[in-house]
Every structure is written in C-alpha cells, then in structure tokens.
Symmetry: C2
Subunit: 271 residues, 2 copies
C-alpha cells in the first residue's frame, strides 16, 4: 500500500500532468491519491476548496480536516456534504495546538497554509509529530514572485507587490513556494522531492486565460485594492493601471506565467 | 513520417522530460527528432552547441547549419567533425539574407537566436518562406525575467538586469522566451504550441546546482561584469554582491528557478 502511494508521486508522472491540466485542480492534485484505509490529516482546510477534491480522489481514505476558523469548517462541511462525501470529519483547531495523539496519521496534507504563517518550519514540525514513521507529508504553496507576463508592466508588478506586502505585514510570505525544499528539510522530513507546477497561459488555452489569468490571479490581486490603498502602499491610479495591465495579458497576444510548488517528504522510520 | 515527427512533440511526452533531465541538453532537445531523409535548416548555429545534439539525435536527417559569423561556423564544423557526424553541412550566411530557395526545407530549428534580433518576427517570416507547406518550425529561447531564487536578493536581480540591459542596447531582448507564442502566431505559423521548460534546482539535484546555477547562469551573468560597469549601468560593489548572492543560491538551502520556452509551429498547407 505504501508503495502504491509513493508511486503516485513518481516525478515522471507528475510532469505529465502540467500541460494536460485544464484546471488548477488537476495541475495541483491529480497525482495525490491515498490508499484505502489510510488516515489523512488535512491541516488548514479553509472552506474546503481542496477537501472535496482530496476526498473524492481517495474514497477509501479517512480524512480529518481542521481549520482555525469555525466558520470555515462549517462551510467546508456544507461543501463535502453537498458533494455526497462521507469520508471526511471536520474539527475546529489551531495548527499550533492540534488535539491529536502523536503518530496518529498515515499522511498529512497542507495546501496554501504555510504562506500565512510566521513560523512555517515550526508548523511542519508539529505536523510531522502527528505522522507515523514512514508516513508522508504533502505541501503545496504558490509563489507570487514567480508571476511574469507579456506585455510586461511595472504597474502590474507593483499591484502584485501590494498583495505580497500586505501578507508580509500580516506575518506571512506570499513567495514561500520556492522555499518548500529547504523548509521541509529543515523540519526534518526525509526524501523530500519538490516539483514545480507552472501554469503557462497563452491564448491557445482559453479555459486557462479565463479561469486562471482573469478569474484566479488577477481577481485575487484586484481584491486587495482597498486594503493596499488604505495601508498607503500604493496610489489608486498605479494600482488600477496594474490591474488593467494584468487583464491585458489575457488578450490574444498576451502570456501569463505563474508557478506553484508541490513538495512531498517522509517521516523517517526512526524519526 | 510527418505523423511520427509530430508525435515527438506530444505535450505529454514533453512534460515527462523536465524532472528527469539531468542536463539542459536533455531538457531542451530530447523531444526533437527529425525523420530520416528530411532536410532541416538550423538557423544561427553559433559554435555548434546545439548542432552536435541535433545531428546525433536525428542521424537520418540532413542538416544545413548557418551562422552569420564565419569563425563560429568554422568552430561548429570542427565540433561536428570531432563528433564523427556526417549529416551536417555548414554555410556562413545572414539570417536576413539566406541563400536558399523558397520551400527548400522540411523543418527549421532556431535556438537562442531571436533574443539577439531587433526584428524577430521578420526573421521568423523569412525562415517560414524557406519551409515547405506542412513543414515545422521549432524555436527555443530563454527568459531572464523568469529567474527567481532563494534566498532572494535585490543585488542579484540588479546584476541580472545588467545582462538584460546590455542585450537591449545591442538591439536584442533577453526576456523574449515568454513571447514565443505571440511572435510565432504573428509570423503566420499555425498550430503553434509553446511549452515552458522550467529548470528547478534545489540541493537534491547536485548536477544541476553545479551545471546550471553555478556554471551556466551565474557564470553568464558574471561574464558581463566589465561591460556593465563600463556602460555605467551598475557600480562594481552592487554587481559583485549580486553575483555573490547568485552563488549563494547554490548552497544547501538555496533554490534557483529559470524557464526556457520551446515553441513548435507549422507552415500551413496553403500558406
């Protein structure tokens, strides 16, 4: 069973996924599958955006999904219920004070969580203690410093920097993706393998132009407009020009690139 | 034959290559193979860095490799002779004044050339006229704006910008990789497919740390030191700090990312 699982992370398999992936979900998650009977902790499930995908792809695994926000946990439960999934239990809990016994999970999954934490290695260490020896930890993060595009635009980069700066002030790191390897190694995980998942969008891929460039990335940047202006990081004119230039990259001759990083490591047998 | 060739460019095949590739040559070229009997033009062969790989991978194809520099052509010929290759003929010629009849090639290959030209679309148009209808054009370019790393460093980015600026002043574009799709479409190529080839380097890949981060990328930036200082683009202290910080990314907890872009398009049957 363990071997079948590890096989799911074969790097050659991973690489096949990128260009085929029509959606972000496929790009990030289609090589994650947990064997029947395994106990999986999803730490930081938020409103369940990943939970439904995870639980559906591994119907025989038992998921425990936790989040620090009770409201998010309630929404995540509504989503998995609506999807007819019965292999997930939810719990409100802080990642730094999880109510689980050591070595009580076969696998841990952490997606878009470390970017919000000021002590990411400490969080990984806590999660590692919950893993049985030989169990695996999967970590996925984006990296805003990986965004580049055509036509290039200084205003667009400044608008992106607003999100980076706001996240930094809040104690997080929006460019943490590139650091997954050293962070996971520092946390004591073994056999760490990080594979970048680059989203490359040109107009031959209309579903990604709309679904990623416009509705995922640019919409996210657009969403920090008021906070960024209020914080005095940028003036409204520059911000709006930047967002306009990001939308410009979604036109017929535009190109947009962004990279997510997915790392998998093991807890040593003697750890 | 045409189908076998196109199969070599299957995107799923491409994606398998990335993480497996121990060297840049594999990453960029291992999915390029031309059928026996086909006539291939390599435009801008330089000193033959790609020629040996190309000709060896397609022993039955006949290559015509041209470069504007007679010295480079002579060196390229020495290299292919030393490699025992007999399927390449060389010719000194300017890409904007090539001495070949229209439609005289089955395939055209252009690698690390457009970055040096102020009129890249015009060059692609000229090369397209030399292709038979249904023939393919393969274009490979890097993109210096795709470089990011850990630890991040403003000085390192400024050192990289020196190379970008020097190339811009010389009429080129060191960040042209991301533009391959719109450039090839503008040149009238059809069925254009661009696939990014990201080089992701962490210390689990010692051959890439040494072969790419240190000896390819950082050494290249280091090479513009005198020109950049002489041109007044940067002061020696900042440049040296930047290069030092690039080498720093090759240490055990460092990460380095860079992306090449490979585009393949066809000349329409009625073009």
């Amino acid at each position: 069973m363990s071997e079948a699982y590890v096989h799911g992370y074969d790097p050659r398999e991973n690489e096949r996924l990128r260009d085929q992936a029509g959606t972000l979900v496929e790009l990030l998650h289609s090589d994650t599958a947990y064997p029947a009977g395994s106990a999986v902790l999803e730490a930081g499930c938020g409103v369940g955006a990943q939970t439904v995908t995870l639980a559906r792809r591994s119907p025989g695994a038992r998921f425990t999904s936790v989040d620090v926000s009770a409201d998010s946990v309630a929404e995540a439960k509504r989503r998995t219920d609506a999807a007819g999934l019965t292999n997930v239990r939810f719990q409100q809990a802080d990642i730094f004070a999880l109510p689980f016994a050591p070595e009580s999970f076969d696998h841990v999954f952490v997606c878009f969580v470390l970017e919000h934490l000021s002590r990411p290695v400490e969080a990984l260490g806590i999660l590692k203690r919950l893993l049985r020896p030989g169990g695996t930890m999967t970590v996925i993060e984006g990296d805003h410093g990986s965004a580049y595009f055509h036509p290039d635009s200084a205003a667009a980069h400044r608008a992106i920097e607003c999100q980076v700066e706001l996240q930094r002030v809040a104690g997080g790191n929006a460019s943490i993706g590139r650091q997954l390897y050293p962070l996971m190694v520092e946390a004591g995980l073994e056999a760490v393998h990080v594979s970048p998942r680059m989203v490359y969008v040109d107009s031959s891929k209309p579903e990604l132009v709309d679904g990623f460039t416009r509705k995922t990335f640019t919409a996210m940047i657009e969403g920090v407009r008021e906070s960024a202006i209020e914080a005095g990081i940028i003036d409204p004119e520059t911000f709006d020009a930047g967002v306009r230039d990001l939308y410009r990259t979604a036109e017929a001759d535009g190109v947009f690139c962004y990279t997510f990083f997915k790392g998998v490591g093991e807890k040593g047998k003697r750890a």
